[in-house]
């Protein structure tokens, strides 16, 4: 059950980081959403053998993590979650694509190996980009931004409430698991025959709690819809920033800087 406790810890530490006040934190959520999305799309659009073209895109995480004062630890744990499957897919490439692409210092490098590196690089960059977005944006701002993007209120309310109750759910699950394991010392994890009542019990409790929350909401005037205040329009300066960011990113996507540098040399 270390996964559960890890999840709780990671969740809380991320919230703390999001409360910062750096220049990145203060950017309008729409600005950050657009730039992150653009970044991810461009990184992913490189073909499977690109490595040097991707390298300039490293500037984004380096700069933004420094400016945003985002610590390295959450990044590493997120990479640990995201990378394994990518490496598996890339490993398949190493197996199936063995034709030599180039020779580096006398060692033949296959197409497959190159694509493995490429996929890993892409995976790392996209994960970092999302982390930067989340680590510098507070949850209420995220909800309000979604409203601005015309996401239905019921869905936004759902997302924010799930976010709110995740730590409660994690805690209750951990508690019940500890109680269970105290009475079944030898088994690691829960026996299948007990899963029905274990999960079922917790789910029923969720339903009961949900009902009580509903009453609390009604008592304070809830009527099915909620008047979220949409986030303000990003200031002109940020629009300028977005345009320059887009221009730079697209240029970097189309022009291979490292090659340019080496041709000058």
């Amino acid at each position: 059950m270390t996964m559960l406790s890890k999840a709780t810890y990671g969740f809380h530490s991320l919230e703390k980081i999001a409360e910062g006040e750096t220049i990145i934190h203060r950017l309008n959520p729409l600005t950050k959403t657009i730039t992150t999305f653009l970044y991810v799309v461009l990184v992913v659009s490189f073909d499977r053998y690109s490595i040097s073209g991707l390298l300039p895109f490293l500037f984004y995480p380096v700069v933004f993590m420094s400016l945003g004062e985002i610590p390295l630890k959450p990044l590493l744990s997120r990479l640990a979650i995201a990378l394994p499957f990518c490496i598996f897919a890339g490993a398949a490439n190493v197996i199936f694509d063995q034709e030599t692409m180039l020779t580096l210092l006398g060692v033949p490098i296959s197409y497959g190996l190159v694509s493995l590196v490429s996929i890993t690089l892409k995976a790392g960059l996209t994960v970092i980009a999302v982390l930067i977005l989340i680590a510098t944006t507070k949850m209420p701002a995220i909800s309000r931004q979604l409203i601005r993007l015309k996401v239905p209120t019921i869905f936004v309310l759902l997302i924010s409430m799930i976010y709110r109750y995740i730590s409660v759910a994690l805690e209750e699950t951990i508690n019940m698991y500890m109680a269970y394991s105290l009475r079944s010392p030898r088994s690691k994890g829960i026996k299948i025959k007990d899963m029905g009542s274990f999960v079922g019990q917790l789910l029923l409790r969720s339903f009961d709690r949900g009902e009580r929350v509903y009453f609390a909401m009604k008592c304070r005037g809830f009527s099915g819809d909620y008047k979220y205040v949409p986030t303000p329009e990003p200031p002109a300066l940020e629009w300028l920033y977005m345009i320059s960011f887009t221009a730079l990113a697209v240029i970097l996507r189309l022009v291979n800087i490292p090659d340019l540098i080496s041709s000058i040399i």
């Binding site: 992913v44 700069v63 199936f96 799930i162 088994s187 029923l204 969720s206 709690r209 949900g210 800087i257």
Partner: protein, 334 residues
């Protein structure tokens, strides 16, 4: 089954995101129009959604194998909340997992919600779970319905992942090898998940039967809208397939190579049936534009290119250091 961004190409990711957004909008609409939808459900969806998130991390031991499993939760939610609330809840959970727990990529959100939410709510629940369970709820029926629905949902979901990855042209893995890897594994996963989910549903039914009964009597999908759903799915599949290439030509090569390496000889006889099947699959996709295995790498692959790359890396590193030093100076000044 959470896909990462690196496995998808932008066109595929965006295309399926459009389909998913459509499904979500449709569900919100259905919920708004449904008179029997109690707004009480919203916090219930939220709290049980939060719990499903936690439940996905509960390990249960599979006897005899020494390994452990997890539940996905799609059918569980659908059986307790109804298919449309379940889709919204699943989508919300996946969004939170992607953003806050790095489980699944941003671009891949649409695909993940589709594979784990839309397929359950629009296919395996209405076409499999509901018909069986509607005939009368009993532990036997519930178990049968659940296992069937979970297995189907996971098979379709896994197949979907394969299609999406292949269409994105990221991996060299031949289509059928990928399938052969994904489908059996997910069959095993589906069976165990199905058994556990069935146990949970039976428990809940024994304690609070009205929850599942309420979800079933909801007039979720009628046959008219079902047709629409199927049509949408077909269009989506064609979009994916038509827009992007599969390596049709390399099919036989990859297969022979794989078989040759595994069996240590050219087993043309043995591979006959498999070869025929792969030919048939190939025919299916034959209308797609031809794909050449090695696209011309845009980047230079010479040593010089690597020097350029290293210089860029160094520049990036230096930038980071400079910013951090400047920040520390600022803090010291205060």
């Amino acid at each position: 089954m959470h896909m990462a961004d690196a496995l998808l190409s932008p066109p595929v990711g965006l295309a399926i995101a459009v389909v998913t957004i459509g499904a979500i909008a449709y569900s919100v609409n259905k919920i708004k129009k449904d008179e029997s939808f109690d707004e009480k459900k919203i916090p219930i969806m939220a709290v049980s959604g939060a719990f499903i998130f936690a439940a996905q991390m509960i390990n249960f031991t599979i006897p005899g194998t020494g390994s452990s499993g997890h539940i996905g939760g799609g059918i569980l939610l659908a059986a307790l909340l109804g298919p449309f609330p379940a889709l919204l809840t699943m989508a919300a959970v996946l969004i939170i997992q992607c953003l806050f727990f790095a489980d699944g990529g941003l671009l891949a959100l649409g695909a993940n919600i589709f594979n784990m939410g839309v397929i359950v709510s629009f296919i395996s629940y209405p076409l499999i779970f509901k018909p069986i369970a509607s005939k009368g709820l009993s532990p036997k029926r519930i178990t049968l319905a659940t296992i069937a629905a979970v297995v189907t949902g996971l098979q379709l979901g896994a197949f979907s992942v394969v299609l999406e990855t292949m269409a994105s042209d990221i991996t060299e893995l031949p289509f059928h090898v990928f399938l052969l890897l994904m489908q059996p594994i997910h069959l095993a996963i589906g069976l165990t998940e199905g058994v556990v989910t069935a146990a949970v549903l039976c428990f809940i039914y024994s304690m609070r039967p009205e929850i599942m009964e309420g979800a079933l009597t909801n007039k979720s999908i009628e046959s008219k809208s079902l047709k629409k759903v199927i049509i949408a799915l077909v269009i989506f599949t064609i979009l994916l397939a038509a827009g992007f290439s599969l390596f049709a030509s390399s099919f036989p090569d990859g297969l022979e190579w794989a078989i040759g390496n595994i069996t240590g000889g050219s087993e043309i006889e043995k591979s006959g049936t498999v070869y025929n099947i792969s030919e048939k699959i190939q025919e299916m996709f034959a209308f797609m534009p031809d794909y050449s295995l090695k696209t011309n790498p845009e980047q230079g692959t010479s040593l010089a290119g690597i020097i350029g790359g290293t210089l860029t890396l160094m520049l990036a590193g230096i930038t980071g250091v400079v910013i951090n030093v400047m920040k520390k100076k600022k803090v010291a000044k205060r």
